[in-house]
């Protein structure tokens, strides 16, 4: 997603020189329809930055614990990178396709969204193929008597036909491959969400909260194959996605007074500090006895599947402080040091898939080579470098290699760009 106008107009991606012009153009367009789409047209580098960061953190979290794991936010509070990723995805999707809906109508926007869903689906199937290769290897080469029980997990390989069909139906999903199916389902409902948002954004958000509450009340879930449930319950996680969309379509602006108040700031800080101390007791078990039993019993378990309220609140607090202390025009956003992060965030689908693949590969290397802490850290760093390199290559393709073709074939490309969503 390089600019909001881009996917709609099908124009080549503007570089920073033309950005101001695109900006003005967008403002003009936004002014015309008097619905809730935001007037602010400047490309939100903060979104790219934090989505890039989320992608890095997800990659590190998917690797076995190592030195770099201590840098990821899940060690310092309740929420983790998944929350950031889903929220920003909701935000950018609403930004891009909301505009498409205003300008092209419901059918056009839906068609474009469905094409995007198809891309994500293909990416998921591709990752599944790699996963299948990895575990087939483990299943045939690994027969340690210590783990006879755990190796039973490979039994599904005895029925590859069923397994593959179930994977295509998104019902069979290996560990660490849960985010894309969630994303697919959320995107499938995006036309409906946007259509409702166009009508009444607050009611839409209210419905989303209601669905979240009903999920907790009646224990709604999607089942998986061969048994079990979806590790990210779409009925609950839609709340973050819809909230992101709501913020993109004017909610963030309307909240700006709340966000800039000092009371909000102190509540957020207090909550973050409290959750930090709770997290600390997980990693320093010797501190465990400080926690009052009553609070423990009320709080645990903090449910990731259903997006626990504590996690959601933790994300909100983080987001509120970020918005407050990192202004949209912070010069650092243009600095070359943050460039790799921003590039990764701008090509999120490709980089996300690459991250999942690299995590598999990393597991594999670590298993084959019993290396020490240094090798673990090295693998994490290499993975991140590869992700940055790939993001750079993709943007090079867009800016240079595809430039000639962009006059005619822009639609396909533009959507990939818009797909930053």
């Amino acid at each position: 997603m390089s600019s909001i106008a881009d996917p709609i107009a099908g124009s080549p991606v503007p570089d920073s020189n033309t950005e101001a012009r695109a900006d003005a153009e967008v403002k003009a367009k936004a002014a015309a329809p008097a619905i809730t789409l935001p007037a602010a047209g400047e490309r939100e580098l903060r979104l790219d930055l934090f989505r890039g960061l989320a992608l890095w953190l997800i990659f590190i979290d998917h690797l076995p614990t190592n030195l770099l794991t201590w840098l990821t936010i899940r060690n310092y509070g309740f929420s983790d990178a998944t929350e950031i990723f889903i929220f920003i995805s909701g935000y950018t999707a609403a930004f891009v396709y909301g505009r498409a809906m205003l300008e092209g109508g419901f059918v056009i926007a839906t068609a474009r969204i469905l094409r995007r869903v198809w891309q994500i689906y293909v990416a998921h199937v591709f990752l599944f193929t790699i996963f299948l290769a990895e575990i087939s290897y483990v299943a045939t080469s690994f027969e340690n008597p210590l783990y006879t029980e755990e190796m039973g997990i490979m039994d599904f390989l005895k029925q590859p036909d069923v397994t593959i069909v179930q994977a295509l139906l998104l019902r069979f999903r290996p560990v660490n491959m849960d985010v894309l199916p969630l994303y697919i389902v959320l995107m499938l409902f995006l036309p409906l969400i946007l259509w409702l948002m166009k009508w009444k954004p607050d009611v839409t958000l209210g419905l989303s909260v209601l669905l979240y509450a009903l999920t907790w009340q009646f224990d709604l879930y999607l089942s998986a194959y061969p048994n079990g449930f979806w590790a990210f319950n779409p009925f609950a996680w839609q709340l973050l996605f819809v909230f992101g969309a709501w913020c993109a379509l004017g909610g963030a602006r309307r909240m700006s007074r709340i966000l800039s108040s000092n009371i909000t700031m102190w509540i957020c800080i207090a909550y973050l500090v409290a959750s930090f101390f709770v997290t600390l007791t997980w990693y320093v078990p010797q501190l465990g006895h400080i926690m009052p039993k009553l609070i423990e019993q009320w709080m645990y378990p903090i449910n990731k599947t259903d997006l626990d309220v504590l996690r959601f609140a933790h994300f909100l607090a983080l987001a509120a402080l970020t918005v407050r202390f990192l202004p949209r025009d912070w010069p650092g956003l243009k600095s070359r040091w943050l460039r790799p992060l921003i590039l990764c965030g701008q090509h999120s689908l490709e980089i996300f898939c690459l991250g999942v693949f690299l995590a598999f590969a990393g597991h594999f290397v670590l298993a084959e080579v019993s290396g020490g802490a240094a090798l673990h850290a090295l693998i994490s760093v290499c993975g991140i470098l590869i992700m940055c390199g790939m993001a750079w290559i993709i943007s090079w393709y867009k800016h240079s290699a595809d430039k000639g073709a962009s006059k005619k074939g822009a639609a396909g490309n533009a959507d990939l760009a818009g797909g930053g969503a």
């Binding site: 340690n144 008597p145 210590l146 039973g152 290996p174 039993k293 019993q297 990731k304 597991h363 080579v369």
Partner: protein, 257 residues
Amino acid sequence: MKSAWTMLGLTLLAACLAAAPARAGDPPEQPVPAPPCDVPAYLLSSESALPKVTDAVKASQPLNVLVVGSRSSTIPGNEASAYPATMQAALKEAFPAAKIDLSVELQGKSTAEETAGTLVKLVEAKKPTLVIWQTGTVDAMRAVDPDDFRTAINDGVVALRGAGADVVLVNLQYSPRTETMISAPPYLDNIKVVAQQHDVPLFDRFAIMKQWSDAGYFDLFSTSHGVDLAKKVHACLGRALAKFVIDAAHLGPVQQN
């Protein structure tokens, strides 16, 4: 294959060490210390108590231990080397005067919910002082809803206590090779929650084995088909579990850690 990877790894490692002298401070491959499987003290102590075990040992009555678990509580074909047996041996060593009986009830493919249903009958039949309930692996492999899992353990613990036995919970093995296939964390968390709610000592097998793997005591990634590694790990697990029980029952100083 393996050696090619090892070479690659060593090369990478060497390159890394050469390129980043700052890393040179990292501890090199640790030599295996005299006791082959140290466990940090906090993993072997519990705030929860085992009053019936305490009473039985103090009154010099026989200590009747029942281990209920899935296949990871045994080594196929080498039951006598599995951790229940090594724990029994370690307890005998600690209390030479006491009579320590052990029975092991393996329910290979049962989830916590299925096992919980059988517990009362088991306790009535065997009249144990202490039930060591190893659980979670089957549930994690079948991706049972963690809430249902928690309810099942909760019910099981209540039933065992109601039937008059002390309880120790044992969680999953640390199994690095299947980490990308079995999602252990929700089940580890939920066992912990139940243990906290009911004041049940939880033997954190996962953390202990991970500790051993990180410290380089055991190569848990090994593809070796031999039974040696399994025997060694179980010997250590049994000893650690015995210490844990002795500590939770407040039976004298835990000797050399």
